[in-house]
C-alpha cells in the first residue's frame, strides 16, 4: 500500500474528491494546512505597517491506496487539482507497511 499525500488549493478539494470517487477511492483524510513555495503569500498592511503573510492556505489530502492504484490516483489528482497557475501543489507517495481498520481489526487491503 502507498500513502498518496497531495497538497492542493482549497477550492479544488471538491473536484479532487469527485475524481477519486470515480476511481472508487473514497477513503481519505483531509487537513487544513499552510503552504510555502514558489507561490508567495500576500504582503498586507496593518495599521500602516507592512507585513508578509508567508504562508498560503492549502488543503492536504492523504489517501492510502493499494500499490496498483497509485498511478491512477496520482493522475486523477494531477488532473483534478490543476489550474495551471503557480501554487497548484504537489503529490508525494510514501510506502505504508501496514493498515488496520479499527472497527473490525481487518488489515491491509481489506482495511482501506
Amino acid at each position: 500500500m502507498k500513502m498518496v499525500m497531495a497538497v492542493i488549493k482549497p477550492p479544488k478539494l471538491d473536484d479532487v474528491r469527485a475524481a477519486l470517487a470515480e476511481l472508487g477511492v473514497t477513503g481519505m483524510t483531509i487537513s487544513a494546512v499552510q503552504g510555502h513555495g514558489r507561490q508567495k503569500g500576500q504582503t498586507e498592511i496593518y495599521r500602516g505597517a507592512e507585513y508578509d503573510i508567508n504562508f498560503v492556505p492549502k488543503v492536504k489530502v492523504e489517501a492510502v491506496v493499494e500499490d496498483d492504484r497509485v498511478s491512477a490516483v496520482v493522475d486523477a489528482i494531477t488532473q483534478a487539482a490543476n489550474t495551471g497557475k503557480i501554487g497548484d501543489g504537489k503529490i508525494f507517495v510514501m510506502a505504508v507497511e501496514q493498515s488496520v481498520r479499527i472497527r473490525t481489526g481487518e488489515t491491509d487491503a481489506a482495511a482501506l
Partner: protein
C-alpha cells in the same frame, strides 16, 4: 436659517395632521392647563422622543453590521464591517447635505423637494445670554415661539430622519455582499441616501403626491424597507450571484460564518425597532400620543414574536430542523410587516401580521434561490416581500387606507426604486465596475481590499500559524 418644514408648520397643524395621519389626537386636556401639558413641556417630550427613538434606530446600524458580518463567510467579514460603518457615515453626510431638504422642503403634493439650505435651531439666537440687547431678547422670544409652534427641535427631527436612510442603505449591503466592489457600493449609497430615498420619502412623508392621495405607511414598510429591498434586488440581479453559488442547477449553500453574531444583530434590530416604529408617532407630549407610542411598542414586539414562532414551526414541519437563520429572518420580517401600521391593529392582528411575515420568509428564501438571485442575507424576502405585504394589509385596521391606494403606492415606489437603482448599478457596472475579480472573490474581499482578515487566528481559510 431654520428650516420650517412646510408639511408641519406649527403645533396646531401638527396636531391636526396627526389626527388624520395617524389618528392620534391632541391631549384631551390641552385647554385645561393645570391638568394638561404645557406647550414647552410637550416640545421637550416630542424632542426627546426623536432623540431616544433616533439613538435606538442609530443602533440598528450596528444590528445590520452584526447580522451581515455573521451571515457572510469569514473571508468577507471585515469587508462587511467596513461597508456597514462606511454606509452609515456616508448616508448621514448625504442626508445632511441634500437629503433632508429634498425630502421635506417645498414638496407640496409634488414629486420631490428642493435643495434649499437649512440649519439647526440656533442656540445663540434662542438664548442670547445675560448681556443681551433688547433686540436680541425680542428675537429670542420670537424664535422660541416659532420653535414651540413647530413642536420639536429641528436637529432632533433631522437626527431621527437621518437614521432611517441608513437603514435603507443597510438593506442593500447585505444582499450584494461578498462580491460587490467597495467603492461602487459607496457611490451607490451616496446616491441612494442623497437622492433616491429622499425623493421617495417626499412623496409621502414630505407631503407629496402619494400623501395627498391618502397612501398610508406609518414607519416605512414601503418607503424605507421596500425601497431598500428593491435597490438590493436590482443590485443582486445586475451584479450576479457569487461564484459557485449556483452550479449545474444546484444551489450550493454558502453557510453563515458566525451564528451568535447574526443573532446579536437581530436582537439589536429588534430593540432599535421600538425607536423606528414608536418614535414614528412623531409626538409624545400628550396622553394620547404617549399611549399610542405604548401600543406601538406592544404591537411591534408581538409581531416580531409572531414572525419568530411562525418560522420556527414552519421550519420544523417542512424541513425537520429549525434553521436559526430563518428564525432570525422571521423576526425581522415580522417587524417589517407591522411597520406600515403598528398602531391600529389589535394585538392579535399584530401577531398574525408578524407571523405571515415570518412565513413569507420561509417560503420565499428558497424561491429566490430557484431564480438564481443570490441574496446573501435574505434581505429581499425580509424587507421587500414582507414590506409589501405589510403595506397591503394596512386597510385591515386603518379605515383611512384603501387597498387601491396602497397598491398604487407599492407599485409607484417599486417602479421608481427599480428604475433609479437599475440605472445606477448599470452606470457603475459600465464605468468603474461593480464586481471584484474572480481571484479576489475566491481569496476573499478581506485580504483583497481591506488588507486585514476578520479572524486571522481561526479557521481553515484564514488560519495563520506561528
Amino acid at each position: 436659517m431654520k428650516l420650517s418644514p412646510t408639511w408641519r408648520c406649527g403645533l396646531l397643524k401638527a396636531v391636526l395632521a396627526s389626527v388624520t395621519l395617524v389618528s392620534a389626537a391632541p391631549s384631551a386636556f390641552a385647554q385645561d392647563a393645570p391638568a394638561g401639558v404645557t406647550p414647552e413641556t410637550a416640545f421637550i417630550f416630542n424632542t426627546l422622543l426623536f432623540l431616544i427613538g433616533g439613538f435606538l434606530v442609530m443602533w440598528m446600524a450596528a444590528g445590520f453590521a452584526m447580522l451581515e458580518a455573521g451571515l457572510v463567510r469569514s473571508k468577507n467579514v471585515a469587508m462587511q464591517c467596513t461597508k456597514n460603518i462606511g454606509l452609515y457615515s456616508i448616508a448621514g453626510l448625504m442626508y445632511w447635505a441634500v437629503g433632508y431638504s429634498l425630502m421635506y422642503t417645498g414638496v407640496d403634493g409634488g414629486y420631490m423637494g428642493t435643495f434649499a439650505p437649512y440649519g439647526f435651531d440656533s442656540i445663540g439666537v434662542l438664548s442670547p445670554g445675560d448681556s443681551a440687547t433688547a433686540e436680541q431678547t425680542a428675537a429670542a422670544a420670537a424664535a422660541s415661539k416659532g420653535l414651540l409652534d413647530t413642536g420639536y427641535s429641528t436637529a432632533s427631527d433631522w437626527f431621527f430622519q437621518m437614521v432611517f436612510v441608513a437603514t435603507a442603505a443597510s438593506i442593500v449591503s447585505g444582499t450584494v455582499a461578498e462580491r460587490v466592489k467597495i467603492w461602487a457600493f459607496f457611490i451607490f449609497v451616496i446616491v441612494l441616501a442623497g437622492f433616491i430615498y429622499p425623493i421617495a420619502g417626499s412623496w409621502k412623508w414630505g407631503a407629496g403626491w402619494l400623501d395627498a392621495m391618502g397612501f398610508q405607511d406609518f414607519a416605512g414598510s414601503t418607503i424605507v424597507h421596500s425601497v431598500g429591498g428593491w435597490a438590493a434586488l436590482t443590485g443582486a440581479i445586475i451584479i450576479g450571484a457569487r461564484r459557485g453559488k449556483y452550479v449545474n442547477g444546484k444551489v450550493m449553500p454558502m453557510v453563515a460564518s458566525n451564528i451568535p453574531l447574526a443573532t446579536l444583530g437581530t436582537f439589536i434590530l429588534w430593540l432599535g425597532w421600538f425607536g423606528f416604529n414608536g418614535a414614528s408617532q412623531l409626538a409624545a407630549g400628550s396622553l394620547t400620543d404617549v399611549t399610542a407610542v405604548s401600543n406601538i411598542f406592544a404591537n411591534t414586539n408581538l409581531a416580531a414574536a409572531g414572525g419568530v414562532v411562525a418560522s420556527l414551526v414552519l421550519m420544523q414541519i417542512i424541513y425537520g430542523k429549525v434553521d436559526v437563520t430563518m428564525a432570525l429572518n422571521g423576526a425581522l420580517a415580522g417587524l417589517v410587516a407591522i411597520t406600515a401600521e403598528p398602531l391600529q391593529p389589535s394585538p392579535a392582528l399584530s401577531i398574525l401580521i408578524g407571523a405571515i411575515g415570518g412565513a413569507i420568509v420561509v417560503f420565499t428564501v428558497p424561491l429566490l434561490d430557484k431564480l438564481k438571485i443570490d441574496d446573501v442575507v435574505g434581505a429581499v424576502p425580509v424587507h421587500l416581500f414582507a414590506g409589501i405585504f405589510g403595506t397591503m394589509v394596512v386597510p385591515l385596521s386603518n379605515s383611512d387606507a384603501s387597498f387601491g391606494v396602497q397598491l398604487t403606492g407599492v407599485v409607484a415606489y417599486g417602479l421608481f426604486a427599480i428604475v433609479t437603482s437599475a440605472a445606477l448599478w448599470l452606470i457603475l457596472k459600465f464605468t468603474i465596475g461593480v464586481r471584484v475579480t474572480e481571484e479576489e472573490e475566491e481569496m476573499g474581499l478581506d485580504l483583497a481590499d481591506i488588507g486585514v482578515e476578520a479572524y486571522p487566528e481561526f479557521g481553515s481559510g484564514s488560519q495563520r500559524i506561528g
